[in-house]
Structure formats: structure tokens, C-alpha cells
């Protein structure tokens, strides 16, 4: 199978998988087997695309003519493969985890849950492999809509309110800001293809380009740059597997991935440096980065704290992208991976705690490390990655970001990075401390140990991945360096 053959399959598999899951809804075991088979199959297909690219055959597939000059098309390049690999690989792990979580919690409507999950992955694959901005926009919206039933899964008033904010913010930004930005680009250039070096150069300039940049920055609501971050804490009403894969990996990474793609392949680094006031984006991201951490510091609910931490971490990526130096771009890309594996571990741990003990608040965690050593051990590793301590993935990305900032002597960025590292430590370390160095105040109402084995296996595996990103960062960086090569 060549890369070009595998590309459409990467979309077809999750879509067909969702149909299969829906059909098998009556037999839970078969249904879960279908989910796992789909996830595994998808990962293999994405690997095929990767091998195709490594063999020097970048794939480009046109699915259908959509609008004049803008086909619905897919392509493979290092950045897309990276995102697709992260999303599809972690989907397998999350599926294993979700089976334990959903059954352990006796959740209702499990078929709908798995179906929507598969459709969301379909959307994420589309975003990853989109060859032009319109294709990307289409799948971006698929991702928004397919995750709505997941966010409101519980169906109570709380879920409905959360869903309203979720959909409201994401649709308002994408239709209100991103869509006009896309159409504007099309109107100026007549194309929307992602091309190395960008397509805008020579078509627009001055303050209009700044306005366009701002439309993109806020239009991609999934990147959660303040003040369009509200949807992410709201989405925490969802079951934990959803928060873990979608709101720590697929959906939010789709946001920063979109921004990175726009910066690299629509604007182009060289052109963007000429745009007046492009630094505003850096300041906005820097502000979000610090403010997100500060808000996280004051959270009492574990998942909400993780959500604000995600907001802050996403802005690392946006910030690094907007520093506009090659090393910082690499830092941004590596951080997509590093943050994904670490944050999913944290969410997995939060879900495991909930399933095992029904605890959701930080102050309840005293001494829980003795009851759930694996879970909290994984939590500790992931927390270190968030702070950026070796030997975790978070250290690698932060290293490149700082190096990138030095290339331009960007002291603002350096200051922000230092400040937020301190803040991250300020809200993650107390939890680890609580779990391992404090005694349980009173025995819990229900005696419990670790969560179901599938969940523990999943979170131990992702914690291991966090360490592996540190060890094997070399190949990752070499592979991604290609994105900086501008075609003549």
C-alpha cells in the first residue's frame, strides 16, 4: 500500500468504524472489539502514510471537486503525520481506557458515545491530512459538532449548560472569524492550498495582513487563546475519556495544529515577519499562558485545573509558533506531542481516581498515593513533563522554545516561560505532595484500590510514552525539520 492509497483510508476507517459500532450496539463486547479494531487499523494506516513519506513519496489525493479552485484534498507532510500519529495512537490507548471507564461507571448511551468518538477521530484525521484551508475548515467543524454529544453525554442541566458554551464559543469563532478569514484568503489569492513558504506573499500587506492574522488567531477557537478559551473548562462536564483524548489531544491540538499550518503554509515565516504588529500575537499568547496558569492555581476541581493548565500549555505552542524562528517552530511541534502524552496521562489519572473513589476535588486527594500507587506515579511523571523537568518530553520542547527565543533575543518570551514554569510547579507539585506525603484524614466510605486494570494499563503506558519522547527526541526533531524547508 502506498502513501497515496493509505490517505483516503485514514478517513474511511474511522467513518466506517463508526457505522460498524452503531450496528453492533446491541452486543457490547462486539462493539468494543469493533472500536479497538478500528483504532488499531487506523494506526497501521497512518504508519503506512508515514513510511510512504519516509520513502520520499509525499502523497496528495484529491477526493472531489468542491468549489472552483478548491478541491476537497488530502496530503501528507511531516506536520500532518505527527498530529495523525498522536491522535490515532492515543485513540487505541483511550479506547482501552474508555472501556474500563464506561463499564466501571455504568454510563448510559455507550453506543452513542463510541460512535461519536469514532466520528470525532474521523474529523481529527481530516484536519491532520487536509491539503488546503477549506478541507481543514470542513473537518474542523466536523470535529466541533461530533464532540458536542460527547460533552453533553450526561444529559443533565449541567451538561446542557456546558454544551451550550462549548458549541457557542467554537461555532461563533469558527463561523464568525475563521470562515471570513478563509474566504478572504481565497478572495485575495484564488487558492487555499498549503504551500511551503506560504501563499499570501505579494497578495496583501500592511494592516490588512495584521487583521487577517488576528482573525485566524481568534477564529481558531480550539487553540483557546484568551478570551476565546471559555469552552475548554465548560467541556469538562464530559466523561473523562473524552476530556482525555479530545480535550487534551485531538480537539485542542487540532486548534494549535491549524494555527501552525496557517503560519507556516499560508502566511509563511518570511512574510509574517513583515506583517506589522505581528508581535501582538506573541503578547496575547504570553498573556494567556500566564493567566491560564494563575487561574489553574486557584482551581479546586481536578479536571477544571487540568483544563486551565491545557489552556496555558496550548499557548506555549501558539507562542512558540509566533516567535517565527526555526528552532521555536520545532519546539512548538515537539510540544504538540509532549503535551499530548503528558496531559492525557493526567486526565487518565483523574478519571481513574473518579472511577475508583468517586473523588473529583483536589483537597480530597490526601494520601491517595498509597491506595493507587501506579496511578499517582504516572500522574507525577506527567506533572514533571508539564513543568518541563528532564527526563520528560516537556523538557525537550521547552528547550527548543527557549533556544528559538534566543535566536531573536525575545526576552518577553523568556520571561513568560520562566514565570509559567514556576506557576506550573506551583499547582502540580502540591497534588503530588498531598498524594504521597499526607495521611488519609479518615478511611473512605468505600474501600478501594486501583481502578480497573484496563484503565491503569492505559495510563501507565502513556506515562511511559512521556519518558520515551525525551529519550527519542532526536528522530522526531530531524523528521520535523523538513517543514522549515521552503520550496524555491
Amino acid at each position: 500500500m502506498t502513501g497515496a492509497e493509505a490517505l483516503p483510508l485514514a478517513l474511511a476507517i474511522p467513518l466506517l468504524g463508526s457505522v460498524l459500532i452503531a450496528l453492533l450496539g446491541r452486543w457490547p463486547n462486539l462493539r468494543e472489539a469493533a472500536t479497538l479494531a478500528t483504532a488499531g487499523g487506523l494506526f497501521l494506516v497512518v504508519l503506512q502514510v508515514l513510511f510512504g513519506l519516509l520513502a520520499g513519496e509525499p502523497a496528495e489525493v484529491e477526493l472531489m471537486r468542491f468549489l472552483p479552485g478548491v478541491p476537497l484534498a488530502l496530503h501528507s507532510e511531516p506536520l500532518s503525520i505527527l498530529f495523525a500519529l498522536v491522535a490515532s495512537g492515543l485513540w487505541i490507548v483511550t479506547s482501552v481506557y474508555a472501556i474500563g471507564y464506561m463499564r466501571g461507571n455504568n454510563e448510559k448511551h455507550q453506543t452513542r458515545f463510541y460512535v461519536c468518538f469514532a466520528v470525532a477521530i474521523f474529523g481529527a484525521m481530516g484536519v491532520a491530512f487536509a491539503a488546503n484551508l477549506l478541507t481543514l475548515f470542513l473537518f474542523y467543524e466536523v470535529l466541533t459538532l461530533s464532540t458536542y454529544p460527547l460533552v453533553t453525554h450526561k444529559g443533565d442541566d449541567n451538561a446542557r449548560r456546558g454544551g451550550r458554551v462549548y458549541l457557542g464559543v467554537l461555532l461563533a469563532t469558527s463561523i464568525g472569524l475563521l470562515l471570513p478569514a478563509v474566504i478572504w484568503v481565497y478572495s485575495e489569492t484564488g487558492t487555499l492550498d498549503f504551500r511551503p513558504g506560504g501563499i499570501l506573499e505579494g497578495h496583501m500587506g500592511g494592516i490588512a495582513a495584521t487583521a487577517l492574522l488576528m482573525l485566524f488567531l481568534f477564529g481558531v477557537g480550539k487553540a483557546a487563546v484568551m478570551p476565546v478559551h471559555r469552552w475548554l473548562p465548560a467541556a469538562m462536564v464530559a466523561p473523562t475519556p473524552v476530556s482525555a483524548l479530545l480535550h487534551a489531544v485531538a480537539v485542542v491540538k487540532a486548534g494549535v495544529f491549524t494555527l501552525t499550518k496557517v503560519v507556516l503554509y499560508i502566511f509563511g515565516l518570511d512574510f509574517l515577519r513583515e506583517v506589522p504588529y505581528e508581535v501582538v500575537a506573541v503578547y496575547l499568547a504570553g498573556f494567556t499562558l500566564v493567566a491560564g496558569s494563575v487561574v489553574a492555581l486557584y482551581q479546586t476541581n481536578i479536571k477544571r485545573m487540568l483544563a486551565y493548565s491545557t489552556i496555558s500549555q496550548l499557548s506555549y505552542i501558539v507562542l512558540a509558533t509566533m516567535v517565527l524562528t526555526p528552532l521555536a517552530e520545532i519546539g512548538a511541534v515537539v510540544h504538540i506531542v509532549a503535551h499530548a502524552v503528558a496531559k492525557i496521562t493526567l486526565f487518565f489519572a483523574a478519571g481513574a481516581i473518579y472511577v475508583a473513589s468517586k473523588k473529583t476535588e483536589i483537597h480530597q486527594l490526601d494520601g491517595i498515593g498509597y491506595r493507587m500507587p501506579v496511578t499517582m506515579g504516572a500522574f507525577a511523571i506527567a506533572a514533571l513533563s508539564m513543568i518541563g523537568v528532564p527526563p520528560t518530553g516537556g523538557f525537550v520542547s521547552k528547550w527548543y522554545m527557549i533556544a528559538g527565543a534566543f535566536q531573536h533575543d525575545y526576552y518577553f518570551v523568556l520571561a513568560v516561560l520562566a514565570l509559567s514554569t514556576a506557576l506550573n510547579a506551583g499547582y502540580f507539585l502540591p497534588i503530588v505532595f498531598r498524594a504521597f506525603f499526607r495521611r488519609e484524614p479518615e478511611p473512605p466510605a468505600r474501600d478501594h484500590g486501583e481502578a480497573p486494570v484496563t484503565m491503569v494499563a492505559a495510563l501507565a503506558f502513556t506515562a511511559l510514552l512521556t519518558l520515551l519522547v525525551f529519550v527519542f527526541n532526536g528522530p522526531l526533531v530531524t523528521f520535523e525539520q523538513v517543514i522549515l524547508e521552503v520550496a524555491p
Binding site: 471537486r65 458549541l167 463561523i175
Partner: protein, 491 residues
């Protein structure tokens, strides 16, 4: 014979079938006849569209009298699209009526109902195909009188008052049109559109022509329910039987938009309509008001039919603002939205028809828990609703794409903002319905899906929304050639 006379048959078949319907006994027979007629008409319309795109405009002389003395029927790219919309919606809606109408209309009036329906169909098609302005007025009145009758058939007594209000408004609008036509005739001595266009060029700068122009634009604006002349529309759509709401919402206002386009572009000509008078500015202003007022009113409604009716007021605003741009892209966007809006509003009103069939009403309360009770119906509603919002992969997105593209091309940034705000308001009012249907519990949660004879037409239109969102070549190429006809290029 079909090859020569299909244009006349398009109008004559429903016209002759209508009295025949009245002769049939109440029951299923009138419905069968109406279905057969609607499908024949649809086949003729498809044939016509292929002819126009194969060989160019088709001209037919009624009774063999040569225009400008005789009445000419003429099909070009612009009205071929309109004929296609009307005929297609008719062909989808009549099968739906088979189950829905006996439930909503007095059993003694069934034959009369279908007779009026066929007359309305005949009138709307007649407006679209005729090349004679007075003939256009006559067909306008045929379709209007038939629609007043259809609306009055609603079960609620308010249907009567709504029909009456519409009658008053509609008659004033049609009479305005008549005055305008009379003034044009006084200046040129002809009623044929093409001939009028030629002769008007000589007398363009007279006050009479300006007065005629004003009367015609206002008359058309009343019929197409342009803000602030839209007051008749919400009541009429709310209280009419579901089938009628679906049919009229998808076709009647579209045909009125066509009348406006035909007069301003073909008869008066681009330079006169938009050059001398500040029509573009007036239309754009009113359209913006329509979009905002219509959408905001829709958000506050408690009856879903009325909500959709106000949404129609807003959607008409989109079409008119696109017309006001007077560029190739703008006109493409307007005609495209004409087509797409018929699909989405048709599907939405049909889905509501299913709800009314089962629940007996369309207020928010009766929609509680329907996501579980009537999953297929509500799924169709959601699909069409997404299209109305303009979410990608639906027909509504294609409309919105062209509309925003056209506005950006002209640098009309405020219009871009208004269009997008309108979409967001649409998201709010559609989502209010979705939340009620999926998050509130029904009193009696037992599953009671609508029968397939109602679901099939509803889903046909809902799927059309997705199909034309994926593969928009057909409507886009139709709309583009319609735009080039309006701007005076070759069709």
C-alpha cells in the same frame, strides 16, 4: 409534441387538473391525481432545464401568435432554475400531503385543497415561465388567491385571520405591480419583456418610468416579504397546514425574488435600476434590517413554525443583500441561496409536519423529548438546521461561502459581519429547538416515529441538503449562468 409544447404544458397540466380535482370525491383520489400532476410537472421541468443548458433559451409563442403581439413563454438560465425549484419542491411535498393533509384539514375540503394546491403550482410556474408582464400579473394573482385559500385551511381559527391579512397585503402588492405595469405600457405600448427592455431604453429618463419602477419594486417587495413589508409572512406560515407552510416557504417567496430580479435586470436593465436610482443602497439597508430583525425575532419565538417563518424573513434578507451587490458573484450567491434555501426550509417545515402529525402541535412544549420519541424526524430537522446555520458539508455552507466571498470582493465588510452574525443567531434559534428535543423529557417517552410516507419526503430534502453541500456543481453552474444572463452575457 412535448419537445415543442413543454413550456405551455408546464402551466396547462396543473391548470386543467385543478378543476378535475374538484370533481373527484373527497378521499385519496384527489391526492393521487395531484401527485401524478406534480411528478409530470417535475419531469417537464427537468426536461426544460436540460434543453436550456443544451441549446440555450427556449421561446414559445402561445397560440402561435408572434411576440410582442402574442404572449411569449420563455425559458432561460434564470427562470429554468426557478422552475426547477418550484417543480421539485412540489413533487416532494405532494406525497407528504397524503398522510399529513387528512390529519390537518377538514375531510370535506380535501378535493378543494388539492384543487387549490394545483392552482398555486400552476400560478408559480406561470410567473416563472411567462415572458409577458401582464401575464405575469395574472399568474401572480392565481398563485396568491390559491395560497390564501390553502393557508385558511389550517385547523386553528387563526389560520382564517392570517389568510385574510395575507390577502389584504398580497392584493395591495399585486395592485402596485399592476399600476407599474400600466405605467410602462403607457410609455412603450408593449407588454413583452424583451420588447419592453428595448423600448424602455428610449424613454428611460421620464418621470413616468421612474414611478412605474418604484411601484413594481415595492409591489415585488411586498410579495417577497422584504422587511418592513414582511408582517403577513409569520402568521401565514405559522397557521397554515404543514404541507402548505413547507411548499410556500420553499417556493412562493423564491418566485417573488425572481420577479424582482426579472424586472430590475431584464426589463429595466442594470444601468437604469441600479445606476440612476439608489436602489442598491436601499435594498442593502432593508436586507440588513431583515437579517437582524428576522433572526432576533426568531430567537424569541415559542412556536417552532413561527420561528422558522421569522428565519425565512432573515434568509430573504440574505438573497436581497446579494442582489444589491450587482456583481456576478453577488448574483450567483443570490440565486444559489434561492435554490439552497428552498431545500433547507422545505426540509425543516416537513420535519415539523411530522411533529405536528404525531404531537398535534409545533410549540416548544410539544417538542420535548422528541430526540428519543421521533429520532429520525429530529435527525432530519438537525441536518436541515445545520444547513440553515451554514455548517460545512451542507448546502447552506455553499450559499454562505459565495455570499461572503461576494461581499469581501466588494469590500463590504459590514455586510460580511451582518451575514455572520445572522448565522450565529441561526445557530442559537436552531439550538434552542435541539436542546428541547434532546435534553428535556417527554411526558410519554414511548417511541412514536412518523410513518415512512412522511419521513421519506422529509429525508429526501434533508439528504439533498447534504448532497448539494458536497457536490455543488449543479446549483453553482446553474446560478452562475443565471447571473450571467442577468448581467447581459450569453446564457
Amino acid at each position: 409534441m412535448i419537445d415543442q409544447h413543454f413550456l405551455a404544458l408546464l402551466v396547462v397540466v396543473p391548470l386543467l387538473a385543478s378543476p378535475l380535482c374538484l370533481l373527484l370525491p373527497n378521499g385519496r383520489l384527489p391526492w393521487l391525481l395531484a401527485t401524478a400532476v406534480a411528478w409530470v410537472v417535475f419531469a417537464l421541468a427537468v426536461f426544460g432545464v436540460f434543453r436550456v443548458y443544451g441549446d440555450g433559451p427556449v421561446s414559445y409563442w402561445m397560440g402561435g401568435w408572434q411576440p410582442p403581439w402574442g404572449i411569449e413563454y420563455r425559458l432561460d438560465a434564470l427562470n429554468a432554475l426557478v422552475v426547477l425549484i418550484v417543480a421539485a419542491i412540489g413533487a416532494v411535498v405532494v406525497p407528504f400531503a397524503g398522510r399529513s393533509v387528512p390529519a390537518e384539514v377538514d375531510g370535506a375540503n380535501i378535493a378543494g385543497f388539492y384543487a387549490a394546491f394545483l392552482l398555486a403550482l400552476c400560478g408559480l410556474l406561470g410567473i416563472a415561465v411567462t415572458g409577458d408582464v401582464f401575464n405575469l400579473f395574472v399568474f401572480l394573482e392565481i398563485s396568491s388567491l390559491a395560497s390564501y385559500t390553502l393557508i385558511s385551511q389550517g385547523r386553528n381559527r387563526r389560520a382564517l385571520v392570517s389568510a385574510y391579512q395575507y390577502l389584504i397585503f398580497g392584493t395591495i402588492g399585486a395592485t402596485f405591480l399592476l399600476i407599474g405595469i400600466g405605467l410602462l405600457y403607457a410609455m412603450t405600448g408593449t407588454l413583452n419583456m424583451a420588447d419592453l427592455a428595448r423600448r424602455l431604453a428610449e424613454v428611460e429618463q421620464t418621470r413616468t418610468v421612474f414611478t412605474g419602477f418604484a411601484f413594481i419594486v415595492v409591489g415585488a417587495a411586498i410579495k417577497l416579504a422584504l422587511f418592513p413589508l414582511h408582517l403577513w409572512l409569520p402568521n401565514a406560515y405559522t397557521h397554515a397546514p404543514s404541507v402548505v407552510s413547507a411548499f410556500l416557504a420553499a417556493t412562493a417567496t423564491k418566485v417573488a425574488v425572481y420577479v424582482l430580479l426579472r424586472f430590475t435586470f431584464t426589463v429595466f436593465g442594470l444601468e437604469f435600476s441600479f445606476g440612476a436610482a439608489p436602489l442598491s443602497l436601499i435594498l442593502a439597508t432593508l436586507a440588513v434590517a431583515a437579517i437582524l430583525v428576522g433572526s432576533v425575532s426568531a430567537v424569541t419565538q415559542n412556536n417552532v413554525k413561527r420561528l422558522l417563518a421569522y428565519s425565512s424573513v432573515a434568509q430573504i434578507g440574505y438573497m436581497v443583500v446579494a442582489i444589491a451587490m450587482v456583481t456576478a458573484l453577488g448574483l450567483t450567491a443570490a440565486t444559489l441561496h434561492l435554490f439552497n434555501h428552498a431545500l433547507m426550509k422545505g426540509a425543516l417545515f416537513l420535519a415539523l409536519g411530522c411533529v405536528v402529525y404525531r404531537m398535534g402541535g409545533a410549540d416548544m412544549d410539544s417538542l420535548r423529548g422528541l430526540g428519543r420519541k421521533m429520532p429520525l424526524t429530529m435527525a432530519a430537522f438537525v441536518v436541515a438546521g445545520l444547513s440553515l446555520i451554514g455548517v460545512p458539508l451542507t448546502a447552506g455552507f455553499i450559499s454562505k461561502w459565495y455570499l461572503v466571498l461576494a461581499a469581501i470582493e466588494l469590500g463590504w465588510w459590514p455586510i460580511v459581519a451582518v451575514v455572520l452574525v445572522g448565522s450565529l443567531l441561526a445557530a442559537i434559534y436552531i439550538w434552542r429547538v435541539v436542546e428541547v428535543a434532546y435534553f428535556r423529557e417527554a411526558d410519554d417517552p414511548a417511541r412514536s416515529e412518523a410513518p415512512w410516507s412522511l419521513l421519506a419526503p422529509t429525508w429526501l430534502l434533508a439528504l439533498a441538503n447534504i448532497y448539494f453541500g458536497l457536490d455543488a456543481r449543479l446549483p453553482v453552474s446553474l446560478a452562475e449562468s443565471a447571473a450571467s444572463v442577468m448581467l447581459g452575457g450569453a446564457p
